[in-house]
Symmetry: C2
Subunit: 115 residues, 2 copies
DNA sequence: TCCTCGCATAGATCAACATCGAATTAGCCG
DNA sequence: CGGCTAATTCGATGTTGATCTATGCGAGGA
């Protein structure tokens, strides 16, 4: 199942109610974002100038075991927020900006108050 | 703790990495969105023309027990996505657009692809 | 006053999840 | 080939969470 397609087909929350299928798909992505470690991992990758981050760089930023980081990366990858590519011995992770953009559009509020 | 303040202080994910405290706060909100039922509830409230929805209207839209719906409403309220007000025998829920807007800004992608 | 209705809370249960250590795969180099 | 490093997968464990039934509470009506 392609979650990005579901995101693209889901209207902003303020526009009309989501149907069950849309809600299930969107919820999977938000659930992936609903963990502090994954949020930090995502922000590390997303804010990286070159766009790529090696797993070893991420592991060094947390006091968690390497398998745990690997697990979180897998979750982020499964919902289409990250992609990975192996080059030599290292695996590099990269942001999928389309997915992030779709999520942002989904949450667009009628009144953009920054109060 | 005011989650809205944390959201306001958190830069877009693509701008710089979140610190632990920011990530913890933001994750709480996304975790609330990481459930299909809560997403549908939120979209029902958010897309309502008048802006207000009675609990009984929401309960009728799901095949879940009334306490379960009440639980989900509480979660959405605790993270600042909804507010409630009692009038007579009924409780009305209303969207907090600021929170939604902050979340949307947080996810703003560098390339806004609608592909 | 008592009953009824709308909603929230309490307690229990079963599934999902975050985390770890151990084992496994993948690729480099001597 | 043999050993080394990077990363994922596996199995186990403690915790969190979604859901239910039963109960409590507030407000209006008979």
């Amino acid at each position: 199942m392609d979650l990005l397609e579901i995101l693209e087909c889901s209207p902003p929350l303020t526009h009309e109610p989501l149907d069950s299928e849309q809600a299930a798909g969107v919820a999977r992505v938000f659930k992936a974002l609903g963990d502090p470690v994954r949020l930090r991992i995502l922000s590390i990758v997303a804010s990286r100038a070159g766009g790529e981050v090696c797993v070893c760089d991420i592991t060094g930023a947390f006091e968690l075991s390497q398998p745990t980081i690997s697990h979180h990366l897998k979750v982020l990858k499964e919902v289409g927020l990250l992609t990975s590519e192996r080059r030599a011995s290292w695996v590099y992770y990269r942001l999928v900006p389309e997915t992030l953009g779709e999520l942002s559009a989904l949450l667009t509020a009628p009144v953009t108050a920054t109060a």
